[in-house]
């Protein structure tokens, strides 16, 4: 028997007030045509690391749960190596080196994570930055946890079924608060959440399930990519005719009634005249 999850979202999130500045982790799609954007998510629990791109140290003492970037890099192939944070160079990486291909003008996220069996690895995802209709947001869910296939729940219903490591799925949903939870595929008891997720309008809210089920440190990480919004299709502010614009109707109708009355009186007079003859 399926346990029902609460459908209504009522808990308030703690929200960060930003006066004008765009938060570092809210990114806009790359505009250049010969470069690409790369973000890096550290999703291996417990171990701070250094990240080398094309042999150069790029991220120093990068902690688990942190998101770096976006880095602007040449489009094409790059080599990423991840070492212990006290390593002198990239000669003995703990992950990689791995080759990633960055398409020109795309936004990408490389993730250091555990595979389904718990071994450290790295995966690259292309971030979907295609346009959204007014009022809509995009949610992308990425399974990068040492865990079997999972179901992703939104507001008490399964939204993504049987997602495996290291795969993703995207949904377009009305912007607003969503109560999100993750269960093992086919089950109802959540292994993550339920917790409130803000789906930003005109943006891609990317949610990662990371950590290790066996070690009991499964967690959700989020990354927001902005800039996909569209203006509404219209501003419908004129569905009631103003009195001034309809007053003319009354004047003309009034004149019409008078004219009709005059015409009728004239006809009656003529008729009386005839009968009097």
């Amino acid at each position: 028997m399926r346990k029902s999850l609460p459908a209504a979202v009522t808990a308030a999130m703690s929200l960060v007030l930003v006066a004008g500045a765009v938060p570092a982790f809210a990114q806009s799609p790359a505009q250049e045509t010969n470069t690409a954007s790369l973000s890096v998510l550290h999703a291996v629990p417990d171990t701070p690391v250094d990240v080398y791109v094309n042999g150069e140290l790029t991220l120093d003492d990068f902690a688990p749960g942190q998101l770096a970037g976006p880095l602007e890099l040449p489009a094409g192939d790059i080599e990423v190596a991840i070492t212990a944070s006290d390593a002198q160079d990239a000669s003995s990486p703990v992950i990689g080196p791995v080759d990633l291909t960055l398409g020109a003008g795309t936004m990408n996220t490389a993730v250091a994570h555990l595979d389904a069996e718990g071994a450290p690895t790295a995966s690259a995802f292309v971030d979907d930055t295609s346009g959204l209709e007014a009022g809509q947001g995009r949610v992308t869910v990425r399974h990068v946890a040492a865990a079997p296939a999972v179901d992703v729940w939104a507001n008490g219903e399964v939204a993504v079924q049987s997602l495996t490591n290291p795969n993703e799925e995207s949904l377009e949903v009305p912007a607003g608060q969503v109560q999100a939870a993750v269960s093992l595929a086919g089950e109802t008891d959540p292994v993550l959440g339920p917790q409130d997720l803000a789906v930003m309008e005109g943006a891609n809210t990317i949610v990662y399930a990371w950590g290790s089920a066996a070690d009991g440190n499964l967690a959700l990480a989020t990354q927001t990519v902005q800039g996909m919004h569209s203006a509404p299709g219209g501003v419908p502010t004129g569905d009631t005719q103003l009195p001034a614009d309809s007053q003319g109707v009354w004047y003309v109708l009034g004149a019409g009634v008078l004219a009709l009355g005059a015409g009728a009186a004239f006809l009656l007079q003529r008729r009386r005249a005839r009968t009097n003859v």
Binding site: M13, L15, V16, V18, G20, A21, V22, P23, A24, F25, Q31, E32, N34, N54, L57, T58, L59, G65, Q66, L67, A68, G69, L71, E72, L73, P74, E133, A134, G135, A175, A198, M200, G202, Y208, A221, T224, H229, S230, A231, P232, G234, V235, P236, T237, G238, T240, Q241, L242, P243, A244, D245, S246, V249, V252, L253, A255, G256, A259, L260, G263
Partner: protein, 219 residues
């Protein structure tokens, strides 16, 4: 036969009234709307930018947890020279993809997915019906009489009051209107007021035009 004359008069009256006077914006449109230049839009030969892998100290690093940006909503709109003093409430998008407008013309809606007066960039869009059953002539109906230099004040939920100066007022036929520039989120900051005007179109049960005032922050 006696009915023809008054009915003809009625039709003539309806089609002749309310001719929208299209006023050109005071400045070039791009300047008025504060449209952001897109990278690489300058003419001339574009050279390949030299890209180097950034130094670790230059790379922004944050904790990947939810942190939604919260806009501080405007709560009132005051336009003294046109006698407008009305409340503003946040609104979104209706099922047909249009901006949601408060039903009573006495209340204005602020497009919650856009920018707010507190933001350093982008457009604050505020709209209201020009008339409604409860308020036959709405306050915003008067913006067709806006003049460049008019002062407009908007107060927000944080208690701040922002002052703007009108730059332009225009009547645009809805069928020809591209709303994207008016709803920009990254152009220079502007206050954009929208209502309806032009001619009443009975078969569509709406007015023909949007009337749009653009104002810039006063220093």
């Amino acid at each position: 036969m006696f009915l023809v004359l008054p009915l003809a008069g009625l039709f003539l009256y309806l089609f002749c009234m309310g001719e929208g006077v299209v006023q050109e914006p005071i400045d070039g449109r791009a300047a008025v709307l504060g449209v952001a230049e897109t990278p690489g839009s300058e003419s001339g030969a574009s050279t390949q930018p030299r890209v180097v892998v950034p130094h670790p100290d230059e790379v922004p690093v944050v904790t990947a947890t939810p942190g939604a940006v919260v806009e501080v909503p405007p709560v009132s709109l005051n336009y003294p020279s046109l006698g407008i003093d009305m409340p503003v409430v946040p609104t979104g998008v209706t099922e047909d993809g249009q901006m949601e407008i408060p039903g009573d013309a006495a209340t204005a809606g602020w497009y919650r997915y856009g920018k707010a007066p507190a933001d350093a960039v982008g457009h604050t869009v505020i709209a209201a019906h020009n008339g409604s059953p409860a308020t036959p002539v709405g306050p915003l109906n008067a913006i067709g009489d806006s003049r460049a230099g008019d002062e407009i004040r908007v107060a927000d939920r944080a208690g701040h009051e922002y002052t703007y100066r009108v730059m332009s007022v225009e009547h645009v036929n809805k069928n020809e209107l591209n709303l994207e520039p008016y709803f920009s989120r990254d152009a220079a900051p502007r206050l954009v007021l929208v209502t309806c005007g032009g001619e009443w179109v009975p078969e569509a049960n709406t007015y023909s035009d949007n009337v749009i005032v653009i104002a810039e922050p006063s220093t």
